[in-house]
Symmetry: C2
Subunit: 129 residues, 2 copies
């Protein structure tokens, strides 16, 4: 690592800086390419999250109308075990999979409660109206 | 809602209970089908997260070797604006998209720091060794 490395500690990676430090220009180009991959993954992830919350919203309406509680611990235990297994298969730290599960399940339950409080009306979640 | 609805407040949805309450059997069947969709979405999401963390791990190695800091606020501002826009297009509450971003970026930065502390060795993240 060069003596100039500390200059970089709080800087944004851009092409002007890369030109001033030719030795890092290659790393900058490679990071830029990887970031495009990350952005594409995020686009797909957002599309999946949109479909997931549309689906859990339907579950929320059915639960509210049938009088079921938002929480279902047996279902959650199943999801914990399943996502742990899938994460290992995919080469993902299972801790990350559990954080994902906790995030989506917590938010879905909050929305189920809002639907129940609104007497089974999923329109309560429509933030785009 | 029937007077028996309170029986359901803390119960798990299963077919035995559905048989005892025929009026809710249809809702249970519909929830079961929706849960399969949710599980399929989660499988895809875990695969994407696995690829995302593999990619950010590569970024972490490049940053550590070049002496770049794990944090890049300009990049984060870009991601915040972009994911907000994509979420609205997809019909997802932008608040959920921001929670997703915060989760993955926070975890990626922690892992970048671990790689930097290990002198650029991504093996430090290998929880499967």
């Amino acid at each position: 690592m060069s003596e100039t490395s500390s200059d970089w500690q709080k800087t944004t990676i851009d092409s002007a800086q890369a030109a001033a430090h030719p030795e890092t220009a290659q790393a900058v180009a490679r990071i830029k390419a990887l970031r495009q991959t990350i952005d594409n993954i995020d686009s797909a992830a957002i599309a999946l999250l949109a479909e997931r919350f549309k689906t859990t919203s339907q579950v929320g309406v059915l639960k509210a109308n049938a009088g079921f509680a938002p929480e279902d611990t047996k279902r959650e235990d199943y999801q914990i075990e399943r996502l742990h297994r899938i994460a290992i298969d995919a080469g993902l730290d299972p801790e990350i999979a559990e954080m994902y599960r906790e995030f989506v399940v917590t938010e879905a339950k909050k929305r189920h409660q809002r639907i129940a409080d609104a007497g089974g009306d999923p329109g309560v979640l429509d933030v785009f109206a």
